[in-house]
C-alpha cells in the first residue's frame, strides 16, 4: 500500500499522506470525497449511543439496501397488470435469490419507515430542531413524507389483492381533501379506479422520481448537519480561557456578526475527537448491525404475496398499509372531513412548523415540559391507533383480538 501511494498513480489518487499524525487524519479526511459530508471532528459525547441512537445512520443504510435490492428486482419486473403478478411469482420461484432479495426490499422498506419516524422522535426529545437547525428539521419532515410515499407506491407493484386494495383505500383518503381531492386522486390513480395507469405511475414515482428527490434532500440534510456541528465549535458566550488570553493566543481578527450558534466552551475544552476513525467506526458497526437484522428477518420471513389483484373481489377487512392504519382507524370514528383532512393536516402543519412554534431555546426535556407533553401524547395516541388499526380490526372493521383472529398485513 505504501509503495502504491508513492507511485505516480497513487500520488494522483491520494492527495494527503496516509493517516499517521493528527494532521494527516485531518488532511486525509478533508481531501476525501466520501468523507466530505462528515465534519472532521465531533465532540466526544456525540459518539455515545444515547446521543442519537444512530437512527439517522440506520435509516440511510436501509435506504441504501432498498436501492441495491430494488435495482435487482427491476431486472425481472414489467409494470403492467398483465405481467406484474406473474413476474413476482417468477421472481420468487425461478430467479436466483429472487425471494430473498424481495424479502430484503420489503422488510427494509418497513424498517425504514420505523427508523425514520424514530429518528424524528429522538431529535424531538433532544431539541435538535432548535436554532440553527429549524430548516433541517423541516427537511427531515419532508424526508419522512418521501419515505411514506416511496413505501406506499412500492406497495402496489406486486399487483396482488393486498397491494391492490391497500392502495385503493390509501388513495381514496386523498379524495377527502376539499376542492382538489378528486383531482389529486385521479391524477395519482390515473383514472376512476386503480388500474394499469396507476401501476405505471406508481412505478415511475417509485423507481425514479421519489428516490431522486429523497437522495437530493438527504444530501442537504446531512450537509446541514455537518455545517451545524461546526457552529457548535464556536463559543457562544464569553469563555474564561479566552478572556484570560494566554501568551501565544493571538486574535486573528474581529469579524462582524456572530456564528449561528455555539457551544459554551472553547474548542480546546470541548473534548473533540476525530470523526475518522471514532465516529466512522461506530457508523460502520451500526450499518453492519442494521444489515444483519435485515438479512436475518429476510431469511426467516418471506414477503407476502396474495392472490392476483381482482377489482371485483373486495377483501374484508379492506386495510391500508400499516403506517396509514392510524388514519384509517380515525376514519372509522369521525367524519372524513375531520379524520381525513383536519387531523392529518394538523399533524403535518404541527411537525413542519414545530421549530417555529416552539421558541423556547432550552433543549433539556425538563426545561420544555409543554412541548414534551404534547409531543409524547401525540406519539402515544398515534402508536396506539396504528396498533389498533393494524392488528385489532377484522371483518367490517369490527374489534378482533389479534391472538384470536389475525388480520394484520405487512
Amino acid at each position: 500500500m505504501k509503495a502504491f501511494r508513492e507511485s505516480t498513480i497513487g500520488r494522483s489518487l491520494f492527495r494527503s499522506p496516509d493517516r499517521v499524525t493528527r494532521r494527516d487524519q485531518a488532511a486525509g479526511h478533508w481531501s476525501n470525497f466520501l468523507l466530505h459530508l462528515y465534519p472532521v471532528k465531533v465532540r466526544r459525547f456525540e459518539l455515545r449511543f444515547r446521543y442519537s441512537w444512530f437512527l439517522g445512520v440506520a435509516s440511510t443504510v436501509l435506504f441504501a439496501s432498498l436501492i441495491v435490492s430494488g435495482i435487482y428486482l427491476m431486472f425481472f419486473y414489467v409494470p403492467t397488470p398483465l405481467t406484474a403478478y406473474g413476474n413476482i411469482q417468477e421472481l420468487q420461484t425461478n430467479v436466483a435469490f429472487g425471494q430473498f432479495i424481495r424479502n430484503v426490499h420489503r422488510w427494509s422498506a418497513h424498517l425504514m419507515v420505523l427508523t425514520v419516524a424514530a429518528h424524528m422522535a429522538r431529535m424531538f426529545y433532544r431539541g435538535a430542531y432548535k436554532s440553527p437547525r429549524e430548516f433541517n428539521w423541516m427537511i427531515g419532515v419532508m424526508l419522512l413524507g418521501l419515505t411514506l410515499l416511496l413505501s406506499f407506491t412500492g406497495y402496489l407493484l406486486p399487483w396482488d389483492q393486498l397491494a391492490y386494495w391497500a392502495v385503493t383505500v390509501g388513495s381514496a383518503m386523498a379524495g377527502f381533501v376539499p376542492l382538489v381531492g378528486d383531482t389529486v386522486q385521479e391524477t395519482l390513480v390515473g383514472g376512476s379506479q386503480v388500474g394499469s395507469s396507476t401501476l405505471l405511475r406508481f412505478y415511475v414515482l417509485h423507481i425514479a422520481v421519489l428516490p431522486t428527490l429523497l437522495v437530493g434532500l438527504l444530501m442537504i440534510h446531512i450537509w446541514r448537519w455537518r455545517k451545524d456541528s461546526m457552529f457548535d465549535l464556536a463559543a457562544s458566550e464569553a469563555v474564561e480561557s479566552v478572556s484570560d488570553m494566554e501568551p501565544g493566543r493571538r486574535v486573528l481578527g474581529v469579524v462582524p456578526g456572530v456564528p449561528a450558534t455555539g457551544d459554551r466552551k472553547d474548542p480546546s475544552e470541548q473534548d473533540l475527537v476525530m470523526t475518522s476513525p471514532h465516529l466512522l467506526i461506530r457508523h460502520a458497526v451500526v450499518a453492519l448491525g442494521v444489515l444483519l437484522i435485515v438479512l436475518a428477518i429476510s431469511l426467516l420471513f418471506d414477503a407476502p404475496l396474495r392472490d392476483l389483484a381482482n377489482p371485483f373481489e373486495t377483501p374484508n377487512p379492506e386495510k391500508a398499509p400499516w403506517y396509514f392504519a392510524a388514519l384509517q382507524e380515525l376514519l372509522s370514528h369521525f367524519h372524513p372531513m375531520v379524520a381525513g383532512i383536519l387531523v392529518p393536516g394538523a399533524i403535518v402543519f404541527g411537525l413542519v412548523g414545530l421549530p417555529y412554534f416552539d421558541r423556547n431555546p432550552a433543549t433539556t426535556p425538563s426545561m420544555r415540559k409543554v412541548a414534551v407533553v404534547v409531543f409524547t401524547t401525540f406519539l402515544v395516541v398515534w402508536v396506539l391507533l396504528t396498533l389498533i388499526g393494524f392488528a385489532f380490526r377484522g371483518a367490517n372493521w369490527e374489534w378482533v383480538w389479534p391472538w384470536i383472529e389475525w388480520h394484520g398485513e405487512l
Binding site: 494527503s16 464556536a234 463559543a235 481578527g253 456578526g257 455555539g262
Partner: protein, 609 residues
C-alpha cells in the same frame, strides 16, 4: 547592527529567535536549509553572530530549548544545522567563497577602541566596531586569542583550526592585537583610557573557585578551570589514575573527559608545568567540562561528584550522556566534606549526603546530612565549582563592582561607572554561555557607536509581513519526522582529541531542517471575507482555533473574534486550504536577522496539491 532592539510580537513568536541572545533568526536559516538555499542560510546565521562557526559546534543552543517543536516531540537540531552551513561557507570552509563580503561594512572612522580580553565578548565587540569603522586594539593576556573558546572548551569538542579561522576572519577586518599584555601588570586601565576613546573590559572570569575544605591545599587538588586552561595551553598537569571531579556543570564534564585523554595532549616537556597565573573560566558549564577532560588526561577511573541528581545537574544532557559513554562514573547528591591527605598528597574525597540543593525560592543553598560520610579514593581531586573575576587587575581606580565581585554595568548600555569604559562577557556577570558573551560584545559595540558617533543604530526590528501564496505542507511529512541528531564517534574510536560530534550529511540536514514548524509563518485573517463558517475550527488537527464573542477578548466590542493558539500551531496550513472564502492566508514575518535583499524563505514549502 543593533544587537537587541525591542522585539515585535511576531519576533517573539519565533521562539528560537527570541531565545537567542543575539536573536539569530534560526527559523529562517533552518527553513532555508530545508529548501536548499545554503548561502542564504549561512548569511542569516552569520549576520548577527561573528562566531557562527564556533557556535555551530559548541553553542549551548538556547534556541533548541525554546523550539516549539520541542513541546510536540523534540526540538529541531538547530546547532547541528548551523554547523552544516558554516562547514560550507564559514571561514573554516575549504571552498574559499567569502560570502561575508555581502555583510554591511562602513567607512573608517577616527576614534579608537581598546578591548581588554581576546575572548568571544571582546572579539565580537572588535568585529562589530571594526565593521562600523573604528580602529580597534585587542589586548590579550595569554599567547592565544579566543579566550574560553580555546582555553576552556576542550579540543575534542571544538576544533582549534576552526576557532583560529573564525578569529582570523575578524583580524582580517583590520583589528590590531597585542599579545601577552595583561591588565594590571603590562598595562593599567588608566593607560588604556588615555590611549583610546573607549575601553571595553572583556577579560572574563578566569579564577577558579576553591573550597575551604580540610585538605584542599594538598598536592593533587586542582581547580577545574586552571586544569582545562593549562591542558589547552599545552602545559602538563599531573593527574593520577583515579580522578574525582567535584561539580555538576559542563566544565566538570569537560575536565573529566579531558583527564581520560591526557596522552593525546601534546605536552611540551620543556615548558615548566607549573600552573601559570589563573586566567579564564566558565562556571555552570565548568563541572562537566572538567570531568570530560580528566578522562582524556590519562586517568582510567574518573568519577563526578555532584550535589544535584542527574536531572538537576546543570550540565548539558548530551555532555552527560557522552561522558557516560566514555566510562565516566557519576555520584549524585553528595557534597564534598574533606579531602583525605597522606604525606601531603590527596588520597581521597570524603563526601556527605545532600538533603536539598535549592531553597524554597529556588536559590542555590545546599543543605547537607553530615552523618552519612563516604570516602572515594582519588589521586587527583578536581574542583569544578565555578570561577570568579580577577577584579584586582582593575587597579585602585577601577569601575564599581557588584556584590558578587564582578564589574558592575548598566544593563541597558553595558557601560561601567567610569566614563568611556564598557564591560562585557563573563567579567560582568560571571560565567555564562558563549553566545551570551557574543551578545554582550555586540551590545557594547552598539552602545559605543551610540556614544562616540551619536548614532542610534537603525532599529532592524521593523519587520514586515510578506504574503505567500504557495504555503502548502500537505504532501510533506514534516510532522512525523523524528529528530535526527548528528552522529558521534563510537566510543572505541574516541582517541585523543578528535572531535566527537560529526556533522550532518546533506540528506540528514535537509530532512532535519524540514521538521521546522516555521514559526515565522503567520496565519492572517481578512475579516471582511470571513463568514464565520467555522470550517477552520473543524479542520484544525489540534483544536487551536476558536471563535468567541469579541467582547470576551476586549470588553465593549461586538462581533466575533477568531483566536489562534500559536503556542501549539504546527503551521500545517489546513485551515487556509479549507477556508471557502480565502479569508485565511499565510504570510512570512521577515523581521530582523534576515538580510534585506534576500527573498523571504518559507514560500512554496513541500509538494502536495
Amino acid at each position: 547592527m543593533s544587537a537587541s532592539p525591542q522585539l515585535a510580537y511576531y519576533d517573539l513568536n519565533i521562539p528560537c529567535m527570541a531565545a537567542c541572545p543575539v536573536n539569530t533568526n534560526a527559523g529562517a536559516y533552518v527553513a532555508a536549509i530545508a529548501e536548499g538555499h545554503d548561502v542564504e542560510a549561512y548569511l542569516t546565521a552569520r549576520l548577527p553572530n561573528p562566531f557562527a562557526s564556533v557556535c555551530g559546534r559548541v553553542c549551548a543552543a538556547p534556541c533548541e530549548d525554546a523550539c516549539r517543536r520541542g513541546s510536540i516531540d523534540a526540538p529541531i537540531a538547530i546547532r547541528a544545522l548551523k554547523r552544516f552551513v558554516t562547514e560550507q561557507f564559514g571561514p573554516e570552509a575549504v571552498t574559499g567563497h567569502d560570502v561575508t563580503s555581502l555583510l554591511p561594512r562602513a567607512a573608517d572612522r577616527a576614534e579608537s577602541v581598546g578591548i581588554v580580553g581576546g575572548g568571544p565578548a571582546g572579539l565580537a565587540a572588535a568585529h562589530d566596531l571594526r565593521r562600523t569603522g573604528y580602529a580597534v586594539t585587542v589586548y590579550e593576556a595569554t599567547e592565544m586569542l579566543g579566550g574560553m573558546m580555546v582555553l576552556g572548551i576542550p579540543e575534542y569538542r571544538l576544533d582549534r583550526a576552526l576557532v583560529n579561522a573564525e578569529i582570523q576572519a575578524i583580524l582580517d577586518l583590520g583589528v590590531e592585537v597585542e599579545m601577552g599584555v595583561r591588565l594590571g601588570s603590562e598595562v593599567t586601565l588608566e593607560e588604556l583610557q588615555q590611549r583610546h576613546d573607549a575601553v571595553v573590559l572583556a577579560f572574563g572570569a578566569t579564577v577558579g573557585r576553591g573550597l575551604a575544605l580540610p585538605g584542599s591545599d594538598a598536592d593533587g587538588v586542582i581547580r577545574a578551570i586552571e586544569f582545562l586552561i593549562n591542558m589547552n595551553r599545552g602545559f602538563r598537569v599531573e593527574v593520577g589514575e583515579r580522578v574525582v571531579v567535584v561539580g555538576g556543570g559542563n566544565v566538570a564534564m569537560d575536565a573529566a573527559r579531558t583527564a581520560l585523554r591526557a596522552a593525546a595532549y601534546g605536552y611540551d616537556d620543556e615548558v615548566e608545568h607549573t600552573a601559570p597565573a589563573p586566567e579564564g573560566g566558565h562556571d555552570l558549564t565548568e563541572a562537566v567540562d572538567v570531568a570530560r577532560t580528566a578522562v582524556r588526561a590519562g586517568a582510567t577511573d574518573v568519577t563526578v561528584v555532584s550535589l544535584e541528581s542527574s536531572e538537576e545537574m546543570p550540565a548539558a544532557a548530551f555532555e552527560i550522556e557522552e561522558a557516560e559513554i566514555e566510562g565516566i562514573k557519576f555520584v549524585h547528591r553528595r557534597g564534598p566534606h574533606r579531602i583525605e591527605v597522606a604525606d601531603g598528597k590527596a588520597i581521597g574525597l570524603t563526601t556527605v549526603g545532600v538533603l536539598s540543593v535549592f531553597d524554597a525560592e529556588g536559590r542555590f543553598s545546599p543543605e547537607f546530612e553530615f552523618d552519612s560520610l563516604e570516602t572515594l579514593p582519588a589521586d587527583t581531586v578536581i574542583l569544578a565549582i565555578g570561577q570568579s573575576v580577577d577584579v584586582a587587575s582593575l587597579g585602585d581606580n577601577g569601575p564599581e563592582l557588584t556584590p558578587g565581585r564582578t564589574v558592575a554595568i548598566d544593563e541597558e548600555t553595558m557601560s561601567t561607572s567610569l566614563t568611556g569604559v564598557w564591560a562585557a562577557g563573563d567579567a560582568t556577570r560571571g560565567p555564562r554561555n558563549l553566545i551570551d558573551a557574543v551578545s554582550d560584545g555586540r551590545r557594547v559595540a552598539a552602545d559605543i557607536h551610540r556614544a562616540l558617533a551619536g548614532v542610534t543604530p537603525e532599529p532592524t526590528a521593523e519587520g514586515m509581513m510578506v504574503p505567500t501564496n504557495s504555503f502548502s505542507r500537505l504532501g510533506d511529512l514534516y510532522d512525523r519526522t523524528a529528530r535526527h541528531d548528528p552522529a558521534t564517534l563510537p566510543s572505541e574510536r574516541r582517541i585523543g582529541l578528535r572531535e566527537v560530534e560529526l556533522g550532518f550529511t546533506e540528506e540528514e540536514a535537509r530532512s532535519e531542517a524540514s521538521r521546522c514548524l516555521r514559526c515565522f509563518a503567520n496565519i492572517q485573517l481578512d475579516v471582511g471575507s470571513c463568514v464565520l463558517c467555522a470550517l477552520c475550527v473543524d479542520v484544525c488537527p489540534f483544536d487551536l482555533i476558536s471563535i468567541a464573542p469579541a467582547a470576551s477578548v476586549e470588553s465593549g466590542t461586538s462581533g466575533s473574534a477568531l483566536i489562534l493558539d500559536e503556542s501549539r500551531c504546527i503551521r500545517c496550513g489546513l485551515c487556509i486550504q479549507r477556508c471557502p472564502t480565502k479569508a485565511l492566508s499565510m504570510s512570512n514575518w521577515v523581521g530582523f536577522g534576515v538580510l534585506e535583499d534576500r527573498a523571504p524563505v518559507g514560500a512554496g514549502v513541500g509538494g502536495g496539491s
